[in-house]
Amino acid sequence: MKYQVNEKGYYGEFGGAWIPEMMYTNIEELKTRYLEIIEAEEFKSEFDKLMKDYVGRPSPLYYASRLSEHYGSKIFLKREDLNHTGSHKLNNTIGQILLAQKLGKTRIIAETGAGQHGVATATVCALKGIKCVVYMGALDVSRQAPNVKKMKMLGAEVVPVHSGNKTLKDATNEAMRDWINNPEDTHYIIGSVVGPHPYPDMVARFQSVISKEMRGQLLEQTGSELPTRVLACVGGGSNAAGAFYHFLDDEQVELIGVEAAGKGVDTDETAATLTVGSPGVLHSARTMLMQTEDGQIIEPYSISAGLDYPGIGPLHAHLHKTGRAKFLAATDEEVLQSVLLLTQKEGIIPALESAHALAALDKIKMNPDDVNVINLSGSGNKDMETYLNYFGY
């Protein structure tokens, strides 16, 4: 339990609930009730049933033989891209919508970057007939048009946010303001392992289904529950938290998170928080941040709208600090090459975000008998325009 959150909401020195008093009542209610709610048998059986019949779980663990041959090591893909709505995001939104119902909330708000979490939230709101408002940076609204249309078709209201750099950070600010303005009827479905305690722990628990399934599938396919290493991309870090969760205490399993280097960690256009960041407080958590010397938050950059967040979940800041996980960064260019490689070796077009984990395969030393598990967190359908423009098909 060395890497779990403590009773005050901290992972080592990171985490906590640095909330303004306006959010106190809601966060306190969540904090005191979330475990009791999500560990109740009735909740668990409803969650598991939806995971199976609605999300389509378990997601396959696929042995990628041609990719393995290419790298000279065994590579397995955890196919979260095959989930309903095309990513791991639905694992969390299913959990939180059930929780919101138990709390008696009648209105849902969410922030979104690439639009995957927005779609996953709009989806569960349609499923349960609950009003849904999604905040999205105006720049992301224009670069992720298909997801915006999907959310609207699902019945959600999409609010473009024009402050700051008009991306994920600004959408998160606006969602927090909405919650401050609507404290009684609204639940805020945060999409990643970020924000005040208990969100990082709660979201990690909902996503932990990923590594729970991996263990069973690995046992079946390789004879051991434990792989050599697990690789996942990290923005806020929800898919990585889910992929690492049930391996945290098995210290022989190497955990590798891959951040978005953007145009390079030595340029101004990057989102590699752990490489260029320092400790600070943003969005109600103490964590690693991209910031100026004066403590102003720096706008991140990545080709993938899902990874350009200037912070990182406190769990990952802790795993980084303790050395339990290793964090690498992949550039836009490296990521696009990995997209093409997977597409043509395995017939799977990955999301830009997930391809960051693939790109790390070129950066690590692997032995022929190693078992490498890549969390393929999302499908490339939403990124087709970027791919077509870049590759010129």
């Binding site: 640095w18 306006m22 106190y24 402050s163 303005n181 404290p183 600070g280 910031q291 004066d294 403590g295």
Partner: protein
């Protein structure tokens, strides 16, 4: 320990007129001038906003003024530099208001010492919650005789209000309604039942009401339920295009007509 905030509440029991502005807005070097003009026109207490890139508890007006102030080049070091001689010309209590991260990067202990050196009397840091303040930071604030002002809202339970009252020095900042700053409130939007409920709790600390106080009607109404009120966004709006701060600040204060020693 007594500081200027305590002295104010000891000498004045009603219609305390408190004003917020963002340092570095509309122009980088307006800070001292705005403070002097506000005091001259009858402000009892001033909250100097330390701009932050991500002001999650603020509405559009303060978001915008913060963004411009940062673009103008404002930062905490420069603000301290601008304020270094402020006590040669200004006597009313001064409070620094902003988000934790810039203070955290400056170093909380160094920040408190610097405040004492300049003659700052208090801070309002909305995202520094009570338990974190108690656990890690109170000692630095006390050593500098700096009052960290805490907030309560219509959702704050009676038990928590008592806890905050116990932990508070100076005054309690009552957020008028469930909202971010600004937001164009009318008197009818106020939670009068909450104002009355808190008024009847016999708290040891005086209270100021803020958020959505924008004109004479909202100011004087708020003053019925507390020792005074705080105006922020409306003042920031009033000076946003100002080319004559002296005149515009006088006109603004006149429109609020806070009573007492102001004007006339």
């Amino acid at each position: 320990m007594n500081n200027r905030i305590n002295q104010l509440f000891e000498s004045k029991k009603e219609n305390i007129f408190s004003v917020y502005f963002t340092a570095g807005f509309p122009n980088l070097d307006d800070t001292v001038k705005i403070i002097q003009e506000l005091e001259k026109n009858g402000a009892d207490l001033i909250e100097i906003g330390m701009p932050f890139s991500d002001p999650t508890a603020d509405g559009p007006t303060v978001q915008r003024s913060s963004e411009i102030a940062l673009k103008n080049g404002m930062n905490l070091r420069l603000l301290f530099e601008q304020l270094k001689d402020i006590r040669k010309s200004v006597n009313i209590p001064l409070i620094l208001m902003g988000y934790l991260n810039p203070v955290y990067q400056y170093g909380v202990e160094a920040f408190c010492r610097k405040c004492a050196e300049i003659g700052i009397d208090g801070t309002i840091l909305p995202d520094l919650p009570l338990d974190e303040f108690e656990a890690e930071y109170r000692k630095y604030f006390e050593a500098s005789n700096l009052h960290n002002i805490l907030l309560i809202t219509p959702q704050t339970s009676e038990k928590r209000i008592k806890q905050i009252d116990e932990a508070s020095e100076g005054f309690i900042y009552m957020v008028s309604s469930s909202s971010t700053t600004g937001a164009g409130k009318k008197v009818e939007d106020f939670h009068v039942d909450y104002f009355e409920r808190v008024q009847n709790m016999n708290l040891k600390n005086p209270r100021l009401i803020g958020f959505g106080i924008s004109d004479h009607a909202t100011f004087s109404n708020a003053c019925k339920y507390a020792q005074g009120a705080i105006i922020g966004s409306a003042f920031v709006n009033a000076i946003k295009d100002s080319v004559n701060l002296e005149k515009d600040i006088a006109t603004f204060v006149k429109s609020i007509d806070p009573g007492g020693k102001a004007l006339l």
